[in-house]
């Protein structure tokens, strides 16, 4: 009997889930958000269909406020792997001038991310969308299924979830309904980094410590990635050795002071850390039920 390591078991399970979607859904898409979890998800999708290519495109819902390095990495990754990449921007939101500074994090996330995602899924008629979310990230995610059924309006009903015994996923749905599928459900942050190190998966350089221009705002270090971020009275741009544990819209993502410049450093730092990776995410702190609320509204 070949003894599988913890990571090999997680890898096998994720590949199984990805193939199950390809085999049972009509028009899947991989929601590629450029971060480390997406990098692992994409790597697993490549493996699942080798020597062929994944039978679905990548979709990035661009809020127009992502770090510039993320966008460059996104385009490079799609080109390198020879995959179709769909970039969707909620143009209505752009025209209305929604932005993380003037509109607040909650409205910005709702319009540019949640509504943008729903627009894109409807526009292309995708009936299953892969996401890289993990159950260890947040309490309401810990309760979500691997195949998370969404209504035609993209709503999640936490009280009416289908049981998923063994590895038997009920992939049937009515017309208009869709699935959000989470192949990394059982992975932890540590598993993700261990796997990235083991498989040498390229990730956005923002995860590694470097001198970056940051501003202290709202108790967090915010990187001033472009001129759209106006300085408030008293604020100064400092050059600090920082890195990011998660990546999102740059005005909403706090950097951590760190000297971890390699994967080994990152893994060592994570082991000794006393705060969760989502600590730097401004959108999670709108109240402890807020992720559940956003998911019900159609957020990933």
């Amino acid at each position: 009997m070949i003894q599988l390591s913890h990571l090999q078991k997680l890898e096998a399970e994720a590949i199984f889930i990805i193939r199950e979607v390809a085999a049972t859904c009509e028009k899947p898409v991989l929601l590629y958000s450029i971060g480390k979890d997406s990098a692992v998800l994409l790597h697993l999708a490549m493996k699942a269909f080798h020597p062929g290519k994944p039978p679905f495109p990548l979709l990035h819902v661009d809020t127009t406020w992502k770090f510039r390095e993320m966008i460059a990495f996104r385009d490079e990754t799609a080109r390198r792997l020879g995959l179709d990449l769909i970039v969707h921007i909620n143009e209505e939101g752009v025209r209305a001038g929604v932005n993380p500074f003037g509109s607040g994090s909650r409205l910005h996330t709702d319009v540019m991310k949640t509504q943008g995602l729903k627009q894109a899924l409807d526009k292309y008629g995708f009936d299953a969308a892969f996401g890289g979310a993990r159950r260890d990230e947040e309490k309401s995610r810990a309760k979500e299924r691997v195949f998370s059924l969404r209504s035609a309006e993209h709503r999640w009903d936490p009280k009416n979830q289908r049981p998923e015994p063994w590895r038997l996923f009920n992939t049937r749905k009515a017309t208009g309904e869709s699935f959000r599928v989470f192949p990394l459900s059982n992975w932890t942050e540590k598993d993700v980094w261990d796997y990235i190190a083991l498989e040498n998966i390229p990730v956005v350089p923002l995860y590694f410590a470097a001198k970056r221009p940051v501003v202290r705002r709202g108790g967090a270090w915010i990187m001033r990635d472009d001129e759209r971020m106006a300085l408030l009275p008293g604020e100064v741009v400092e050059s600090k050795l920082v890195r990011f544990r998660t990546l999102g819209c740059y005005p909403l993502t706090g950097a951590v002071e760190s000297e971890a410049a390699s994967l080994t450093d990152i893994i060592a730092e994570m082991r000794s850390s006393r705060s969760s990776e989502r600590e730097g995410r401004v959108i999670d702190h709108d109240g402890s039920g807020s992720m559940e609320q956003k998911k019900q509204e159609g957020y990933f």
Partner: protein, 547 residues
């Protein structure tokens, strides 16, 4: 391996170029052995509190989460000013409002000794299906019993379901010992009662630990308040326990086909997760339910091309010849193969809101196969109080019953006790698409597939092609050329015979008859003559001769 190589960074060794990917498969890796366990018990037994306490003590709760916990405890908590650890796991707003667990929550933590995945499952009978879901992937179950209340109907129900889904190792955590003054007599009585109740459930081990989840006694370290208890505290126990199932190597392999991988005309692979056993390149296989035969040419694992794969690995295999398989088929070894059945005897855990009645029809999903299934007979229902089988004409929600199912096509199955992947199934209600039952196949023995069955089960056109190939050889082969040359020689000699007959003055009809007769009869006479002189020997036995 182009695509795979490209997904890796430059310094990584590339799958196909690595001489032996097999080497990489045997390493346990840096990760520690994983233990998946569930906690179950009746409402208010303190399951979520216990899990929250373990997470907290194991250092799996971060400072920012603790900050949120303190805020939540003031708002929803049931512990006054102290942090309410249940709020760490009860993640849904409805759960926090009602102070109960509705849905199964999976939590991940690790200690120096081991990684854990824990499924915290609801106590309410109404949410039994969520409890069964958590149990279906667990290696071990912690059953909580409230020291003040002793065994409750839910204790019996949960113990039975845990046994039904195949969990064999049980830890009974007698909780709230603080509320009975850490009285040994209370603990021993519960131990005695539980052993008596669980006698027929087939557990391989049952351990009892007195705890107070709220105060953290006997959770991560031995309590000084229970000097009469000699065993380990709960977490050290879980770190040390060995899982019996992992050591077992099952005979026979089975790979349910999940996805047919045809990127181009040159490659046709069959992808899926190995459900049991070990398969190797060169192994003879049967494709079930059809029974067609082939052998394995290549095995592609996530690490690259390998020579073998075993249970739990997601692989893609190719066959040595042009046989066809599709999603839902099972690629199996000839010995200890799944049985092909169109009628199933099964236990059902009914999770539908409307009761099950005989004659109802569903979509059945087993491994990667789906079929239409009708419940032709409902034999009995299980009384959870007495574990007795009672006659029933319907199964209400959360009931367990014995049924006969008729399928619209044959499927390859194992007995659930032998293999969960090929013995466990779900029933789906066609209109609502809801999962209405978990099923457990019973009364099936593994099949031994002989060579004869293979030939019999081949389709007629394929049999003709095979017969043709064995008589006249495949195109381009030496046998085919010899056949063609013999054919032209015989045709020539028959024409010569016809010419000679006409030259001797016979009619054209007679000449044609003689020529055709010569063409057909002479080879037959030749074969009969050859057979007469051939000595029988072992080498002459044909495939399918019955050995």
């Amino acid at each position: 391996m182009g695509a795979l190589a490209e997904t890796r960074g430059a310094p990584a060794p590339v799958g196909a170029q690595r001489p032996a990917n097999d080497e990489g498969q045997n390493v346990e890796g840096s990760a520690r052995a994983l233990l998946r366990f569930i906690t179950c018990g009746s409402v208010d037994d303190g399951k979520s509190t216990l899990i929250g306490r373990i997470l907290y003590e194991a250092g799996a709760v971060f400072d920012d989460q603790l900050g949120a916990l303190e805020a939540d405890s003031r708002k929803f908590g049931t512990q006054g000013a102290a942090p309410d650890f249940a709020l760490l796991v009860d993640g849904l707003v409805a759960e926090r409002e009602q102070g109960i667990t509705i849905d199964v929550a999976y939590r991940y933590f690790s200690t120096e000794a081991r990684s854990f995945i824990v499924a915290d499952t609801p106590g309410h009978e109404q949410y039994t299906r969520n409890m069964a879901t958590g149990a279906s992937t667990a290696d071990l179950a912690i059953i909580l019993v409230d020291a003040r209340k002793g065994l409750l109907p839910q204790t019996r129900r949960h113990s039975f379901i845990v046994s039904l889904v195949g969990v064999r190792q049980i830890v009974v955590a007698v909780n709230k010992m603080d509320l009975v003054g850490y009285d040994e007599a209370v603990f021993r009585q519960i131990e005695h009662d539980y052993r008596a109740m669980a006698a027929g459930l087939g557990f391989s081990s049952i351990d009892f630990i007195p705890v107070s989840a709220r105060d953290g006694e006997n959770v991560t370290q031995a309590s000084r308040l229970t000097p009469w208890y000699r065993g380990s505290a709960l977490l050290p126990f879980l770190e040390a326990v060995t899982i019996a199932a992992e050591a077992r190597e099952e005979a026979g392999f089975a790979l349910p086909v999940q996805w047919v991988n045809r990127p181009d005309l040159d490659f046709r692979g069959y992808a899926g997760m190995v459900a049991q056993g070990r398969l190797r390149v060169g192994d003879g296989v049967a494709i079930l339910p059809s029974g067609r035969r082939s052998s394995i040419a290549r095995v592609l694992a996530p690490s690259g091309e390998v020579s073998q794969a075993s249970a739990g690995q997601s692989v893609t295999i190719t066959f040595a010849d042009e046989v066809d398989a599709s999603r839902g088929d099972v690629i199996a070894s000839l010995a200890d193969a799944p049985s092909v059945r169109q009628e199933l005897q099964a236990r059902l855990l009914w999770t539908g809101e409307a009761a099950l009645r005989e004659g109802a029809e569903f979509i059945l999903k087993l491994a990667t196969a789906t079929a239409n299934a009708s419940v032709t007979q409902l034999q009995h229902r299980l009384d959870v109080e007495s574990f007795a089988e009672v006659p029933a004409d319907s199964l209400p929600m959360n009931a367990i019953g014995q049924v006969t199912l008729r399928l619209d096509r044959p499927l390859a199955v194992h007995d659930y006790s032998r293999n969960r992947e090929l013995g466990g199934f779900i029933l789906i209600e066609r209109l609502s698409n809801q999962t209405v039952a978990f099923g457990f196949v019973e009364g099936v023995q593994p099949a031994r597939l002989g060579a004869r069955t293979a030939e019999q089960e081949l389709s007629l056109p394929l049999r003709l092609r095979r017969a043709m190939a064995s008589g006249v050889g495949r195109p381009g082969s030496a046998q085919r050329r010899a056949f063609a040359s013999g054919l032209s020689w015989r045709a020539g000699s028959s024409l010569a015979l016809a010419g000679a007959t006409i030259a001797l003055g016979a009619s054209g009809g007679l000449a044609a008859t003689l020529a055709v007769g010569d063409f057909v009869l002479r080879p037959l006479a030749h074969r009969a003559h050859k057979r007469l002189w051939r000595r029988p020997g072992a080498g002459d036995l044909q495939d399918g001769a019955g050995i």
